[in-house]
C-alpha cells in the first residue's frame, strides 16, 4: 500500500482550474456533512449545543484540503496534529483504522480536545486522505469535573493523556483502550457518545471521499488537492502583497496566571513584508503556574485566524493559507507550553493572542481591524451529584459580544469570531441538569464609547438546585478591559459574583475553582466590546436609538454609549 504518490513538482500545472474549484466545492460539502453528523449525534452540551468541534479532510500528506464552518481556532491546529500522526504511523495505515489523540506535547491542543482521525483508502488500497475531527469533550478525568481548571498546575492533574493510539484497528474497536477510557472519565456515556459522533463523521468522510476518488482516480484526486493548496497559497500571497509593509508591536494581558490575579503579558510583533506575515511572540510572559499555557499550535491557529479575517476574499480552508504566515514562539513561554505545564484553559490565551495580533495589525491596516471584543468565551463548569446520587458535569460557555468596527457598532451579544460557539437553551439546561437559570441578557452601558460603540456585555445567572456544587470558572477581562481603537474607549470589565439567599454577595476572581452551597446564585457578566473612533463624533441618532432601547443611559448620560 502506498501512502504517498509524489508525482513531481509540475503536477499542479496540469490541473484545470475549473475542475479544481469544483473539487473545492465537493470537499467543502463533505466537510459540512461531517460537521452535521457530529452536531446531530453528539451527547455533551459542549459539542452538540456549544458546537465546540471541527471536521476536516486532509490529503495523504496530512495537509488540510477542506474544513467545515465550525471553530476557526481548530483549523490552524490540524497541521500539527497530522504531522505528529504521520510521524508515528506514516506508512502503516490500514483501512478501518481509527486513531485517537489528545496529548498537547505531541500534536494535541489540550487534553479535552480529542482528535479522531480515519485514513481513507480506495478500493485498490491507495491512501486517498484522512477524515479528521476534533471535539472538546465535557470531561476527560483529572482533579475536577470537566477536567479543565485554571488552577491545575501540571498536566497530570488535567485528566487522561492519550498519545496517538488506535481506537479501531482494521475495523475492530480496541477493547483495552475502551476500558482505560471508561475507567478514567466521569460520565462515560457522554464521552463515548461524543467519540462515536466523531467516528460517524469520519465514516461519512470515507464514504464520500472514496466516491470522489472513483470519479477522478486516486492520482487525479491527489493532483486536484495539490492544486487547491497551491491556489490557496497564491490567493493569500496576492492579498498580503497588496498590504503596506511594516512592523508593529502590541501587548495585551491575561488577568491571571491561573492561581492568582496578576497581569500576564502576551506580546506580539507583527511584520508585513512583501507577500508574507511574521508574528513573533518573543517577549510574552514565561509559562505560568496555572493551566493557561498554550500549545504552540494553538497560537499558530490564532495568528492564521487573524490574518484570514484581514483578507478580502473568502479563502478556501486549506493548508495553503498557512504557508505565507510564520509564527515565532519561545518554548517555555505562555505561548509555547513544554512538559509538564498545564494547558487545559489555554483557550483564553488563544483569544488574547488573537486580540494582540489584531492590536498590532490595526496599526498597519487601520481600516480592516475592529476594536477588541469581549475577550473570548467564559467557561463555567458545574459538577456534583443529582438528587438520585448520579454525577453530572454541566459545561457552560458564555459567549459575549464584539468590538466596534471602523464602520459600525459592535454586535450586541454574538459569539467570539474565534469560536463561533452557540449558547445553551435555558429550557434544555434546566430540563437536563439540577439547576435553574435566573436571568440571561444584555448589560446596558457596557459597550466602549466611540464614534461606533462596542457591543454590550452579556450576563447569565445560575442557581444550583442541589447542595455543594463544584464550580470552575475561566473568565478574563476583569482587570484589563477590551481595547478601543482610533480614540474609542475600552469596553466595561467582566465580573463574577456569588449572591447568597440573604442578599449578601461575594466577588470571585476571574479564574477560580470554588463551590456553591444551597441557595447561592452565581452571576457572570462578560466584558463589553471596545469602541472605535472619537466618541464626540458619534451620530446623535445612534445615541437616541440606544437610549430608546435602554442600551445606554441606565447609569449615566449619553457619553456612556
Amino acid at each position: 500500500m502506498s501512502d504517498l504518490q509524489d508525482l513531481g513538482p509540475d503536477r499542479v500545472d496540469a490541473v484545470d482550474p475549473v475542475a479544481g474549484q469544483i473539487v473545492i466545492n465537493a470537499l467543502a460539502t463533505i466537510a459540512d456533512e461531517m460537521a452535521t453528523t457530529i452536531f446531530r449525534t453528539a451527547h455533551s452540551t459542549v459539542v452538540r449545543d456549544v458546537m465546540d468541534f471541527s471536521a476536516a479532510i486532509c490529503d495523504p500528506r496530512g495537509r488540510t484540503v477542506a474544513q467545515a464552518v465550525s471553530v476557526p481556532f481548530h483549523l490552524g491546529s490540524i497541521p500539527t496534529a497530522m504531522e505528529s500522526l504521520l510521524g508515528h504511523y506514516g506508512g502503516r495505515f490500514r483501512p478501518g483504522d481509527v486513531y485517537l489523540m489528545n496529548d498537547p506535547f505531541d500534536g494535541g491542543i489540550h487534553l479535552p480536545d480529542l482528535f479522531v482521525v480515519k485514513p481513507i483508502f480506495s478500493d485498490t488500497g491507495i491512501l486517498l486522505g484522512f477524515g479528521v475531527t476534533t471535539a472538546h469533550h465535557g470531561d476527560v478525568g483529572g482533579r475536577l469535573p470537566g477536567s479543565s481548571a485554571c488552577d491545575n498546575t501540571d498536566i497530570f492533574q488535567e485528566g487522561l493523556r492519550l498519545p496517538w493510539v488506535k481506537l479501531y484497528d482494521e475495523g475492530v474497536r480496541q477493547p483495552d483502550l475502551v476500558k482505560i477510557l471508561r475507567a478514567n472519565v466521569r460520565v462515560p456515556t457522554m464521552t463515548f457518545g461524543d467519540l462515536d459522533a466523531q467516528v460517524a463523521a469520519c465514516v461519512v468522510a470515507e464514504r464520500q471521499v472514496r466516491k470522489l476518488g472513483e470519479r477522478h482516480g486516486s492520482e487525479g484526486l491527489a493532483r486536484l488537492t495539490d492544486w487547491i493548496i497551491e491556489y490557496t497559497e497564491r490567493l493569500v500571497r496576492a492579498e498580503i502583497a497588496a498590504w503596506p509593509d511594516g512592523t508593529a508591536t502590541f501587548t495585551d494581558y491575561l488577568d491571571s496566571d491561573g492561581l492568582e490575579t496578576r497581569p500576564v503579558p502576551i506580546t506580539v510583533t507583527v511584520t508585513i513584508a512583501g507577500d508574507e506575515v511574521i508574528a513573533d511572540f518573543t517577549g510574552s510572559a514565561p509559562m505560568v503556574p496555572g493551566a493557561l499555557n498554550s500549545t504552540r499550535s494553538f497560537i499558530m491557529a490564532a495568528v492564521y485566524h487573524a490574518v484570514h479575517c484581514a483578507l478580502d476574499t473568502r479563502v478556501p480552508n486549506s493548508a495553503g493559507a498557512f504557508a505565507p504566515v510564520t509564527v515565532v514562539t519561545e518554548p517555555g513561554s505562555v505561548t509555547h507550553v513544554v512538559m509538564p505545564g498545564a494547558s487545559s484553559m489555554r483557550g483564553v490565551t488563544g483569544f488574547r493572542a488573537f486580540d494582540a495580533v489584531n492590536g498590532a495589525l490595526a496599526q498597519l491596516l487601520p481600516d480592516r481591524i475592529p476594536a477588541a471584543g469581549e475577550g473570548g468565551n467564559t467557561l463555567a463548569i458545574f459538577g456534583g451529584a443529582r438528587p438520585d446520587g448520579s454525577p453530572f458535569v454541566y459545561y457552560e460557555l458564555v459567549c459575549g459580544t464584539w468590538g466596534a468596527t471602523p464602520t459600525h457598532d459592535g454586535n450586541d451579544g454574538l459569539s467570539n469570531p474565534c469560536s463561533t460557539a452557540a449558547n445553551i437553551s435555558v429550557e434544555v439546561a434546566e430540563a437536563e441538569y439540577p439547576l435553574e437559570i435566573e436571568s440571561y441578557g444584555l448589560v446596558p452601558d457596557s459597550g466602549g464609547a466611540g464614534r461606533f460603540r462596542g457591543g454590550l456585555a452579556v450576563e447569565r445567572a445560575w442557581r444550583p438546585l442541589v447542595p455543594d456544587v463544584s464550580l470552575v470558572i475561566r473568565s478574563d477581562r476583569a482587570v484589563t478591559a477590551p481595547y478601543g481603537l482610533a480614540g474609542g474607549q475600552g469596553g466595561a470589565r467582566s465580573s463574577n459574583i456569588v449572591r447568597s439567599a440573604d442578599g449578601s454577595e461575594r466577588r470571585l476572581e476571574p479564574m477560580v475553582s470554588t463551590r456553591l452551597s444551597a441557595g447561592e446564585v452565581y452571576v457572570h457578566r462578560t466584558a463589553g466590546g471596545g469602541g472605535w473612533g472619537d466618541p464626540a463624533l458619534r451620530d446623535p441618532d445612534r445615541i437616541a436609538a440606544d437610549m430608546r432601547e435602554g442600551k445606554i443611559g441606565a447609569s449615566a448620560g449619553p457619553d456612556a454609549g
Binding site: N25, A238, V315, S425, E427, Y440, G441
Partner: protein
Amino acid sequence: MAVRRQGSIRLGADVGGTFTDVVVQHHDGTVRVRKVLSTPPRYELAVLDVLADLLAQPDMQAESITAVIHGTTVATNTVLEQRGSRTALITTGGFRDVLELRRLRMPHMYDLFWRKPPPIVPRELRFELSERVAADGTVRRPLDEHELRRVLEELMAAGVESVAVCLLHSHRHPAHEQRVASFLREHAPRISVSASVEILREEGEYERSATTAINAYVRPVMEAYVDRLDRGIAEAGVSAPLTIMRSSGGVMNAADAAMRPVFALESGPAAGVVAAAGLAEQLDQPNVIAFDMGGTTAKASLIEQGQVSRAREYEVGASLSSGSRLIRGSGELIRIPTLDIAEVGAGGGSIAWLDVADGLHVGPRSAGADPGPACYGQGGTAATVTDANVVLGYMRTGAVADGQIELDPELAEQALVDLAARLGRRVVEAAAGVHQLANARMMRALRAVSSERGREPSDFALVAYGGAGPLHAAGLARELGIRTVIVPAMAGVFSATGLLLAQREFHDVRSCRVSCDAPDAPAVIGRLFAEMAGSAKTAHGSDGVRLVPSLDMRYAGQSWDFELPLEESDNWLRPDAGLVGVAVGAFEAEHERVYGMRYDEGAAIEVRAVRLAAVYRTTTVPVMAPATSEAVPVGAHRETWFDGEAHLVDVRPRGQVPTRAIDGPLLIDEYDTTVVVPPDWTVRREPIRDCLVLERHP
C-alpha cells in the same frame, strides 16, 4: 362557437416577488396558465386582474370555480423587507434579550465586519413578567395580574399593533401564557395576540419566541391581505372558499392563515415540491429529487416512496452564503413544519467573477432581473450563468417569452471575454467553466437533501423545473450518478400546479422526554396522542380526516431527532410495548442509514416529541398539461458545446419529440426555457403529462 365546459374548475394562484402565476384546472384535469408581473405591495391585484380576465372568457363561470388555492410570498416578503406591524414581546422576567441574543452564532467564519440583523422586536418593546415556571411544569412564581395590567398600559401607550407572548417552559405549563393572551384579548381587542403555545408546544425558548414573534409581526399584514383577496374573489362572484398553502405542503383555510401566518412562510417553494410529488406519482416514480432553478437561487427537495420530506425548522431572512445548513444565525430561526428544501444562491442571474489568484467563482451575487444578464441588453455587463449558457448554445437567442426578452449572443460573448483572457482560455471554455461551477454550487443543495441524509442520489430521478432547471439538469444528474431526468411541461410555471394538488392539513406537537424502555412509555405516548386527537376532532371533526401520527426519537443524550412515522393502521392511540418496540427498531435502522452506525443493543432511546398531523381527504384531479405549440422553424439547428466539443444540434419543439426514446444531442426550445439533452442521453415524450424523460446511456 364557445365551448361551455361542464363541471368544476379549480384555481391556483402562486404569488412570487416578481411574477404571479395563475393555473386553472378543468374537471378533466387539463390546465391553462397565466404568468403576469406581481403587483407589490398590493399583491392581490395581480390575482384579481387575472381572475377578472379569465371570467371574461366564455368557457369560465364564477360559479364553476370550486376551489381557490393560494401560494404566497407575502408573509416572507413582509419579514425580508421589514414591513411588519409594530410588535411587542411579553416574556418571563430576566429573559427579555433572548430574542436578540438568538443562538449567538454567525453564518460564516473569518468576517469581523459581519453585522447581526436587528431583532424583529426592538428592545423597548420586549416586556417582562415576574412569573416563573420550572422545567417540570410546576409554578415557581404565580402570574401577577397587577403587573399584567401595567404591561397592558405600556403596550397601549407604545401604540403596539401585535403582541407575541412566550413564557419560559410554557410548553410544559401553558396556563400562564393562556391567561396573558385571554387578558389582552379581553382588554385590548384591537391588539392582535399570538401566544407561543397556540403556535407550537416545543422546548427551546429562543426558537419558540422567534416563531411566535415572526407570527405576530406578519399577522396584521397577512390578515389585511387575506381579507382583501377574499373580498375581491367574492366580489368577482366566486363563492369557493380561499385556502392558503402552508410551508409543509398542505393548505389551510384563509382564517387560519390570517391567524397563524408563520405556517405559510415558505408557501411558494412548497408548491413546487408538491407539484413534483404529484408528477412523480402519475409517472410511477416513487423516488425523485425535485430541483428548481430560477434567476437567483436553486432549490432541492427529496421525495421518497412518494412522500415529501419534512423539516421542522427554517431560517427566515437567511442569506444564502453557502449551502451549509449547519451554520445558523443569518436569519430568524423558526420552528414550523416545513418541507425540507435546501437552497443555494445560484441561478441564471448569478455573476461569475475571478479572485486575485484568478480563481473562478459563480455567485452568490446576482444580476437579478434588473439589469439582468448581459445578453438581455438592459445595461448589464457582468458575465452571468445565463450568458454562459447562451455562449454554449444551450439557450436560444432572439425574442423569447412572447418577446418580453431579447437575448443577444454578442453581448453574452462580450461579457465573458475578459474572464476568458484572464483564465487564458477560449470564451467557450470560460463559459463551460461558469456552467460547471454553477452546477458545483447547486450540487450542495442536492447533496444536502440526499447524501447528507444517507440517501444515495443515484437511486432517485431528478424532476427539473424553473426557468433554468432544464438547462442544467442533465449535467447535474451526471455528476450525481442520476440516470433519469424528468422535465415537466411549462417548467417555468410548474410550481403553481402544485397548488391544485395540495390537501388541507394541520400539525400538532407535544414535547416530552420519555425513555422507550420505561414501563409507562406506551401510556405517556398514548395520553399525548389522545390529547392531540381530541383537539383535532374538536377543530376539524372526524369526517374525511386522516390522522397521521409520528414520534421524534433520539438516542438519550443526543440533541437531534428523527421523526419516525407510525403505521396509521396500528393502534397508536392506545400504544403497547410492541408498538414502541417497532418504533425503536425503525429508529435504529434510520440512524444507521444516515450516520453509518447504530449504538450497542440496549442503548437508551428517547421519544422527545409526539406529533399528529390531520390531513383532509380531498379528491384532487391529476394535472393534465395542455398541448404545447411552440413555433420552432422546421430543421432548425444550433451550434452547441458539450465537454469541449462543438456539435450542430437539432432544435425541436416539445410536440415533435417522439414517445419512443431518441438519442441526444437535442435541444427542445420552450416558452421560457430550453431542455438540454447532451450527447450521451436519450429523450422521449411521456404522453401522460406531456413531460420529457431524459435517460443516460448505461
